[in-house]
């Protein structure tokens, strides 16, 4: 299931990605830059979730809750308590991880889908708290006027400046995840996904590792959420519902959870699909409203999963293998 990753290949891909991003940042319109920023933020969430799903074999249906929690921690601390924006980032990450630890501890001891159920409930609880705890969260209208992140006299403003932060965070998340999955702990996580009984027999405390990777993935979601709060400068509960959690899971599934590059690929696929349907469907199908768009979005996702059940990168990986195989034979 899990793929052996080659450092050289990764360095090549990173170089290509950075070059492509730089080119896009230079030439793209503000709209496309904002799309790229959102993909970058979602990539951070999807990387963490793919560690949980693809490497430890667990599902979380509540990651929008952690994403929202990170956003609200950043928003509340920076607007109501006047914290420096940068300081709210580690606070958001640590608080999200602490909540994940409390919720995950009982759930990972139980097998199979308990974590999925527990996190689904958790996501709903978060959403209700965001709506109802008006004194702190501002209720359904949320919190506006989140100050910009600043470095000395410069503030991080505008889509281009944000690309550095969102994709910097995505690159950091990918680098950490890569380092993790190619370590003894990464092998242990893959072992747990392969056979929990055998992993235990080799001295791996399976539930402790599952909890740790769940907490880690929540931390990534919390970081992405906090950055999102500063990026859009306001937060409201509607951005962090159960549908968003399912979208995060879809990103990992569409990207192929056992491949780290699946995270950005899946995030890009879902965002571009959503934007594409919004932009082109009304032209093809006059009068197509939001519901029809949603139906098309769903149908296209189903089509992708039927055509690429192992993730959108499948064909590409086979092509690489075939090419390197021919290369080896020629040599």
């Amino acid at each position: 299931m899990a793929v052996r990753v080659k450092t050289r290949r990764y360095i090549g891909m990173i170089a290509v990605s950075v070059a492509a991003l730089a080119l896009l940042a230079w030439g793209a319109s503000p709209y496309w830059l904002s799309v790229l920023n959102v993909i970058g933020l979602y990539t951070v969430v999807a990387v963490g979730l793919s560690l949980l799903m693809g490497y430890a074999g667990q599902v979380s249906l509540g990651h929008a809750g952690f994403y929202g929690m990170g956003a609200y921690v950043a928003a509340v601390l920076s607007t109501r308590l006047g914290w420096n924006g940068w300081l709210t980032l580690p606070a958001a990450v640590l608080l999200t991880m602490a909540v994940a630890w409390v919720v995950g501890r009982p759930a990972v001891r139980l097998r199979e889908h308990y974590l999925a159920m527990a996190t689904l409930g958790l996501g709903m609880v978060f959403h209700i708290v965001m709506v109802e705890w008006e004194a702190v969260t501002g209720g359904s209208s949320g919190i506006v006027g989140i100050p910009a992140l600043a470095v000395g006299p410069w503030t991080v403003e505008g889509e281009r400046a944000w690309l550095i932060l969102t994709w910097g965070a995505a690159a950091m998340a990918l680098a950490m995840a890569y380092s993790l999955v190619t370590s003894p702990i990464g092998r242990a996580l893959r072992a747990i996904a392969g056979s929990e009984a055998a992993a235990e027999a080799l001295g791996i405390p399976a539930s402790r590792y599952k909890l740790a990777v769940f907490v880690l993935s929540a931390g990534f979601a919390g970081l992405a959420g906090a950055l999102y709060a500063f990026y859009v400068t306001f937060v409201s509960p509607s951005s962090f519902g159960v549908m968003m959690s399912i979208q995060f899971v879809m990103m990992v599934v569409v990207g192929g959870g056992h491949r780290l590059w699946g995270a950005p690929a899946g995030a890009a696929t879902l965002v571009l699909l959503g934007e594409g349907v919004k932009a082109y469907l009304p032209a093809l199908l006059p009068g197509a409203g939001g519901e029809v768009q949603l139906v098309f979005y769903g149908l296209l996702l189903i089509a992708i999963l039927l055509l690429k059940p192992d993730g959108v990168l499948t064909g590409w990986a086979t092509w690489r293998r075939k090419r390197s195989g021919e290369h080896a034979r020629a040599a």
Binding site: T182, S195, E200
Partner: protein, 255 residues
């Protein structure tokens, strides 16, 4: 001299079924100890009780001088008691080398922060495990399949890999649950070689086996279980002539 593994009056019931009743035995270090008995005699239950996969109702399990009853399986493994499974439990998507590396990883030092931030300790741990796994595969003549996904190996080969993977923990005691099940004669010979190699490395082996002929040739001592109780215990010669064993078990197998 106390045994490496001491089991005292161990009992386990499933509902009304008495799976293991008052079983006591002692495995001295350095020998190959076999547990035999017909299907449903409680062999695998006994195994799961000793290795922490089932909780005993009563009795005591001492390993290397410590009471390990109630310990979680991973702690028992780290204490030096490794096991294999009757139904193969390899990590199918990982290569043979990676499977064995997971066993070697139990002895390297690499925490979560090392892993996430790619410290030198992570690099050293990976190198140590890789080197050790390669050495073990060579020792057991499995180096030819090191880079093949474990799930695509032939059945018999998977069994050998599972034993080598357990061996990678450098256990004091190796528990093998019916390792010869489903093997063809050639593979059985290979298995016997693997067992001899394991013993040559100084590992004590506790073997649960259905195949009496194999047990008689490799075991130093034998425990015979029948309906969850100890029927007899002794050397292969003693077991072969034990009246209760001959009557209850060997008689029908041999005839």
């Amino acid at each position: 001299m106390p045994g490496l593994l001491e089991v005292r009056r161990l009992t386990k019931r499933f509902g009304g079924v008495q799976a293991v009743v008052d079983v006591s035995f002692s495995v001295p270090p350095g020998i190959l100890y076999a547990v035999i008995g017909p299907n449903g005699a409680g062999k695998t239950t006994l195994f799961n009780l000793v290795s922490g996969y089932l909780a005993a109702d009563s009795g005591e399990v001492r390993f290397n001088g410590q009471s390990i009853r109630g310990w979680p399986a991973h702690r028992i493994a780290r204490a030096g008691l490794a096991r294999t499974f009757q139904n193969l439990e390899l990590f199918p998507g990982m290569t043979v080398l990676e499977n064995v590396m997971v066993g070697c990883d139990a002895r390297v030092r690499c925490g979560w922060l090392d892993a996430l931030f790619g410290t030198g300790r992570r690099r050293a741990a990976n190198a140590t495990s890789r080197e050790e796994a390669r050495r073990l595969l060579a020792l057991f003549s499995l180096d030819g399949v090191a880079d093949i996904p474990a799930g695509s190996l032939a059945y018999g080969m998977q069994r050998m890999v599972e034993i080598v993977r357990a061996f990678a923990l450098r256990p004091k005691l190796l528990l093998l649950d019916e390792p010869a099940a489903g093997l063809n004669p050639a593979e059985r010979q290979q298995l016997a070689a693997v067992l001899r190699q394991a013993r040559a490395q100084g590992v004590t082996v506790l073997l649960v086996e259905h195949d009496v002929d194999l047990v008689m040739t490799v075991a130093d001592r034998i425990l015979v279980l029948d309906q969850g109780r100890v029927l007899a215990e002794g050397t292969p010669e003693e077991i072969q002539t034990h009246p209760a064993v001959v009557a209850a078990y060997l008689g029908e197998e041999v005839s």
